[in-house]
């Protein structure tokens, strides 16, 4: 048979040129005016953000040329406005991750310019390829704007047929891979949901997050600026966002640092790193850091810094539930989830907010196989009318349940107080943990102060000098308060010299290492 095929002139060059032209148009984002406006607002574009977040040259984009095209009458491309979702895989400190970002220069990041499957595929890739995902959020995060109804010609049923995928992965990935949310501008609606539904969220101090922005809440009669409504001071104190920073660069640093303590997915273990800090290092100041005067407070963060591998403490959620400090740390190079009471806030009592913080933090530790270290100084749950109104006790037992449901290795150091039900919540019930008490430790079902009046009312009322009687009873009871009496009956296992703390915690981290299982646990974490 004769060969009728005409060989190509040279190659597929015209198609390659077309591809490059479309890619170049996509890199223009919403156009020079919108990009300038973004920069004038002190904000980077989504592509600049991805470049600075990821290791240089590591970003591999997916779907760059998806968008809305306009054609000349002859069918040639006149213009391509890209979708406002930029995503792909990249490396962060050498490890593969998924990055998905909103392009605010294209229709303010809203759904009008979104292709629904793009952010969805990013979440699926993180889930199925077992990679951490970093959501770079600005705008409504692909959610709708009021105009959407007119551009689509119909009203969207949120979560309607075919529309639940992103909602599903928004929370599903919390049980699968590390999820970091960065709020780098005004973040509302679905964008706010995607930011809040993360293991760790960071916003810039010029950003704001809200369910609905100032024009909408103005209808409620609340005349507020973006900052007044959802700025960092509101959101970090309410627990809506974990951390606030001055610059976008700092937000990227936070994301990198957060991920450095975690495995890439629940199918792996947290990475160990070499440790140059002597595990047996004794800090002399620990011997006198807790005041003998029981009414006086001390700086728990100084204790943390003294016992962890130098410089390894990475705090999260500092402004929320402040009577408990939470963060990651390393002992002998091994990552742990660290909780520590802060007596500067209600003496370390657990408020309803603190209890919520405990639940989320322990769920994360359990999800990613991080052993827990808890430095305890808890005089109990917060008391008083406001505490009752906040349902402190129900949030409290919820925190206890979260603790009891952990399976990761656990070590508690009782620094000072452990009183009442919240005092009992210092290690998981029903399994063996390690526990040490400092020389300054004291405990009881109830603190004696305030409790004596109730328990010994008849005796006090009958005394000629009730005040003197009260003091006498207090002195009588105080002699039983010594932790040595508790230790002699083996109600507490060990009392230690505080300077031994680092050595014992490094020892714990080493013992805990082989107990961690690189597989999904039973827990399905909620935001």
């Amino acid at each position: 048979m004769p060969d009728t095929h005409t060989p190509p002139a040279t190659s597929w060059q015209p198609e390659l040129d077309e591809l490059r032209r479309r890619e170049a148009m996509a890199r223009e984002m919403g156009g020079p005016d919108k990009v300038r406006r973004q920069h004038e607002g002190g904000r980077l574009t989504v592509r600049e953000r991805v470049d600075r977040l990821a290791d240089p040259g590591s970003f591999h984009e997916v779907g760059a040329i998806a968008g809305r095209a306009e054609y000349e009458p002859d069918g040639t491309l006149r213009q391509l406005v890209p979708s406002n979702c930029v995503w792909g895989r990249a490396r962060v400190d050498g490890r593969p991750v998924v990055v998905v970002g909103d392009d605010f220069t294209v229709r303010g990041g809203s759904a009008d310019a979104t292709i629904r499957e793009k952010p969805l595929m990013a979440e699926r890739m993180a889930n199925e390829f077992r990679l951490p995902i970093i959501r770079v959020i600005e705008g409504s995060g692909g959610g709708g704007s009021v105009k959407t109804i007119e551009t689509t010609g119909r009203a969207n049923l949120p979560g309607g047929v075919g529309g639940t995928g992103l909602f599903n992965y928004t929370t599903l990935n919390l049980s699968a891979v590390p999820v970091v949310g960065l709020g780098l501008g005004s973040v509302a609606g679905l964008g706010a949901a995607r930011l809040a539904a993360s293991h760790y969220s960071v916003m810039t101090k010029s950003a704001a997050m809200f369910v609905a922005g100032p024009p909408v809440v103005a209808r409620l009669g609340q005349d507020l600026s973006k900052q007044e409504l959802g700025g960092w001071e509101i959101q970090t104190r309410s627990g809506g966002v974990d951390h606030a920073v001055d610059t976008e660069e700092e937000a990227f640093d936070c994301a990198r640092r957060f991920l450095s303590y975690l495995p890439s997915s629940v199918h792996e273990l947290p990475p160990d790193i070499p440790c140059e800090d002597d595990p047996a290092r004794r800090e002399e100041k620990l011997f006198s850091i807790v005041p003998r005067d029981r009414r006086r407070v001390y700086q728990m963060r100084h204790i943390i810094e003294a016992v962890v591998d130098k410089g390894s403490f990475f705090e999260q959620g500092k402004m929320f539930g402040r009577s408990l400090i939470t963060g990651f740390a390393r002992f002998g190079g091994r990552a742990v989830a660290l909780m520590a009471s802060d007596p500067y806030f209600y003496g370390g009592s657990w408020t309803a907010d603190t209890c919520q913080k405990v639940v989320r933090f322990l769920d994360m530790a359990e999800t990613f196989h991080l052993p827990v270290v808890y430095l305890v100084d808890c005089p109990g749950f917060m008391i008083g009318l406001e505490a009752e109104r906040a349902a402190t006790i129900r949030h409290g037992v919820r925190a206890m349940a979260a603790m009891n449901q952990t399976t990761v290795p656990w070590c508690s150091i009782i620094i000072r107080n452990a009183f009442g039900v919240a005092g009992a919540a210092h290690q998981p019930a029903g399994r063996l943990s390690l526990r040490y008490a400092w020389l300054s430790a004291r405990w009881g079902s109830l603190p004696l102060e305030g409790g004596i009046e109730a328990a010994y009312r008849a005796e006090i009322d009958a005394a000629p000098d009730p005040k003197a009687k009260l003091a006498e009873i207090e002195e009588r009871l105080n002699q039983f308060r010594s932790p040595f009496r508790t230790a002699e009956t083996f109600w507490v296992e060990e009392i230690i010299d505080p300077r031994e703390t680092r050595r014992l915690l490094c020892d714990f981290a080493e013992l805990a290492g082989p107990l961690r299982a690189p597989q999904p646990g039973r827990l399905q974490m909620r935001p």
């Binding site: 407070v297 007596p343 003496g347 406001e386």
Partner: protein
């Protein structure tokens, strides 16, 4: 600048007076909460220009308790 109470508490003891020059971290007053004395400190060095609370007062979280002039 405003110096705020970080917690709801009662004012236990005033330790600085208007006109005092304070270094960063100096205690302005002690709050009492959960039987503990919790210091409210000067966030930076300056001169205390006003005290807005008295011993025994109840303060709310975030309430301004004193003013500092840098």
């Amino acid at each position: 600048m405003k110096i705020a109470a970080e917690i709801a508490a009662s004012v236990w003891q005033i330790q600085a007076r208007p006109g005092d020059t304070l270094a960063e971290g100096d205690t302005v007053l002690l709050l009492e909460s959960m039987k503990m004395e919790i210091p409210v400190a000067a966030p930076r060095a300056g001169r205390l220009t006003a005290l807005l609370v008295a011993e025994g007062d109840q303060v709310e979280e975030g309430q301004t308790v004193a003013l500092l002039e840098a």
